[in-house]
């Protein structure tokens, strides 16, 4: 079983939704970002989404856009993102890591080489937001052959006609984009999520994670009633930004503050099905 399958099976056995934390690789710098990354599992993070910085993240809101620009300004690259995964795997071989980002850096790296290197580094899944099913074959096939899942996105605009197209060839889990919009924007209502996830489950047996617009432990708890995974990104990334002083120097408690916040989010997600 893959790390993702193992993780979702364990969560199912405990009747819990998993907590998925997003951070941008290299934000605000490589060493700090690696410390945050390594600290996530002990705070209750079940799956890590690691953002691959890109200059033009047109599906992301301001928080994740700025995180990418900070990382790039600090010299981050796709190669270093893979280095970071490799460093994480030195003392963690259980927590799945899903890389999230845009196609151009992967394309520039070389698709075949990327699939091999990412697999060797310990990457479990890929979310490439500007690669819809119509265009993803050239990455999906080599990635799957290297043992990496390509996670498909379902959205509020995925109707009955579109959804089968999204799910055909999907693996790992389905990422439900809770609202039409960019990351870190408005939030979906409980009713919307309940009906959307019910709809998706009629078409697939894959686990369904939900993200976009989830910012608080309370919201995470509500989403956890319906989803198999709850993703928080912009709110965590904003905590990292808050840890940067006006002069650009990092506050000494940045890593601790971020990890403490992550713990409250994880507790929220994990408690969702108790009430």
């Amino acid at each position: 079983m893959s790390r993702l399958e193992t993780k979702f099976a364990a969560l199912r056995a405990e009747n819990k939704a998993g907590f998925v934390a997003f951070i941008t690789a290299g934000d605000p710098d490589y060493d700090t970002s690696l410390k945050v990354l390594k600290g996530l599992p002990s705070q209750g993070v079940d799956i890590i989404e690691l953002g691959m910085p890109f200059t033009d993240p047109s599906a992301d809101g301001p928080a994740i856009d700025r995180a990418a620009q900070r990382a790039l300004a600090g010299g981050m690259s796709l190669k270093k993102t893979l280095d970071m995964v490799r460093a994480f795997r030195e003392d963690n071989n259980e927590t799945p890591i899903v890389l999230m980002g845009y196609f151009n850096p992967v394309f520039a790296y070389g698709i075949e080489r990327f699939a091999t290197d990412a697999s060797n580094a310990g990457v479990d899944g890929l979310i490439i937001v500007d690669l819809p099913p119509e265009e993803d074959e050239e990455l999906r096939i080599p990635a799957n052959e290297a043992g990496i899942d390509v996670i498909r996105l379902a959205t509020p605009t995925s109707d009955n006609k579109r959804l089968p197209k999204v799910l055909e060839g999907a693996s790992g889990f389905v990422y439900y984009v809770a609202v039409a919009g960019v990351t870190g924007g408005k939030s979906a209502t409980e009713g919307d999520i309940e009906s959307a996830i019910t709809h998706i489950r009629q078409h697939t047996n894959l686990p369904v994670a939900v993200g976009f617009g989830i910012k608080t432990p309370e919201q995470a708890a509500v989403m956890a009633k319906y989803a198999d995974g709850v993703v928080v990104g912009s709110a965590i990334v904003s905590m990292i930004e808050d840890g940067i002083g006006d002069n650009g120097a990092l506050k000494t408690d940045l890593v601790d503050d971020v990890l403490n916040f992550v713990k409250t989010l994880a507790n929220g997600a994990h408690s969702g099905r108790n009430g």
Binding site: R66, A108, V129, L153, T157
Partner: protein
């Protein structure tokens, strides 16, 4: 590619690919919309009433057909080929951009959309979009980089006069590519009521095809007008290229006329060997941005680099995918011209023809000043005079060190 294509005008395929380029690289939330735009566009182009309305608006609102003009003094001065100007700068709003803005807004209205968004660099596409939005009474928001707002104040005010909201973009480098990112972010957030009027032959399918089709009226008119003027087709077509809408508009109806040479002129800025240029074909590499696969200015990590050109309308780090295909098929030649060469040609055109050309167009003019003297007098060149240069007088004054 070894297999010689039979036709240069049949693309794209059903997924929007011109060879390896083009496609639909957008987030899943946008996919159903993009598919719907394509379906509605195809239906509209089969509907005689849609085409009649488009023709009529082109005639009485845009002022088409635009004249084909023999540039007699410029031809004499250069002492070689006979140079004609296709006068797109005489269109309403002063450039070719109105051609695709009219077409797209008719489609938006047909689809029942009530809100229009657009990105703009120099402001010409923003003005064209604000114009048609006012004409049809639709709400309009134009995204424009904060840097461009600063250097294109007259166009910003024109858009406001036309009732559009100009939203400054401060993300990334605050220029055209960032304005396009922001427009995509707005579109994905307002999927139900909003139509995105893209300003060039780029973006996800069907935009490169749709914008090309609306712009191809330039080439169709040129063909008929040249037959009337000279009784034969031109020998060489020349146009400037940033995203590539005016160039494809002139070239496309001639692509299967194998004896007609087509030359597209990119902006070399300070030189294509420097890091300050906007020549995506001459100095770029394949990649994916803003919904399509094309050539981009990027570093080895696939991060997009800043473009530079004295002309804000060419200041974009990519190019339409059909141009890349035409380049690889060797059907269209891509050359480049620097800021200073364009400035010189700008003044030359003002003084020899009494026409102030856009700085974008001045790049194509600069190439003509190099090429025409080497060709015989019976050789016919058509320049797409894509825009007028009134908007550029501040930039030119600045570059010439003059105070106005």
């Amino acid at each position: 590619m070894n297999n010689q294509v039979n036709s240069f005008t049949q693309g794209p395929d059903e997924k929007g690919h011109f060879g390896k380029y083009g496609g639909r690289y957008v987030s899943e939330t946008l996919m159903p919309l993009v598919l719907n735009v394509e379906k509605s566009y195809k239906e509209a182009m089969q509907d005689p009433s849609f085409l009649e309305e488009l023709d009529e608006l082109n005639r009485v609102y845009v002022g088409r057909p635009s004249p084909l003009y023999f540039a007699e003094r410029l031809t004499e001065k250069l002492g070689g080929a006979k140079v004609y100007f296709k006068r797109e700068e005489l269109n309403h709003t002063g450039a070719h951009k109105i051609n695709h803005a009219i077409g797209q807004i008719l489609l938006a209205r047909r689809m029942g959309k009530t809100r229009i968004i657009a990105e703009t660099g120099a402001g010409q596409h923003g003005v064209a979009t604000a114009t048609v939005a006012a004409r049809f009474g639709l709400k309009c928001t134009v995204f424009m980089g904060a840097t461009d707002i600063e250097r294109q104040k007259p166009n910003v005010f024109r858009m406001k006069l036309l009732g559009a909201e100009v939203r400054p973009v401060t993300s990334g480098s605050s220029t055209l590519k960032d304005a396009m990112n922001e427009a995509l972010r707005d579109w994905v957030t307002n999927v139900h009521d909003t139509f995105y009027i893209i300003g060039t032959v780029a973006g996800p399918h069907p935009y490169p095809m749709m914008v090309r089709d609306f712009q191809s009226i330039i080439g169709r008119e040129t063909k008929a007008q040249m037959m009337e003027a000279e009784g034969r087709l031109p020998d060489t077509l020349i146009a400037c290229v940033g995203g590539g809408s005016n160039a494809i508009g002139l070239f496309h109806p001639f692509l299967n006329d194998k004896d007609v040479r087509a030359i597209a002129v990119e902006a070399a800025g300070h030189g294509v060997n420097t890091d300050k240029h906007a020549a995506s074909i001459t100095g770029g590499t394949p990649g994916v941005l803003h919904g399509n696969r094309t050539y981009l200015l990027q570093n080895e990590d696939g991060q997009i680099q800043e473009a530079h050109s004295i002309s804000a309308g060419l200041d974009y780090p990519g190019i339409g995918p059909e141009h890349v295909w035409l380049h690889e098929q060797k059907r269209v030649e891509y050359v480049s011209v620097t800021d200073s060469e364009a400035l010189e040609a700008f003044q030359f055109c003002c003084q020899t023809e009494g026409i102030i050309p856009a700085l974008e167009t001045s790049h194509a003019l600069a190439h003509i000043t190099k090429l025409a003297p080497t060709l015989p007098k019976e050789h016919l060149i058509v320049l797409n005079l894509s825009g007028r240069g009134d908007k550029d007088i501040f930039t030119v004054a600045d570059a010439l060190g003059e105070e106005i």
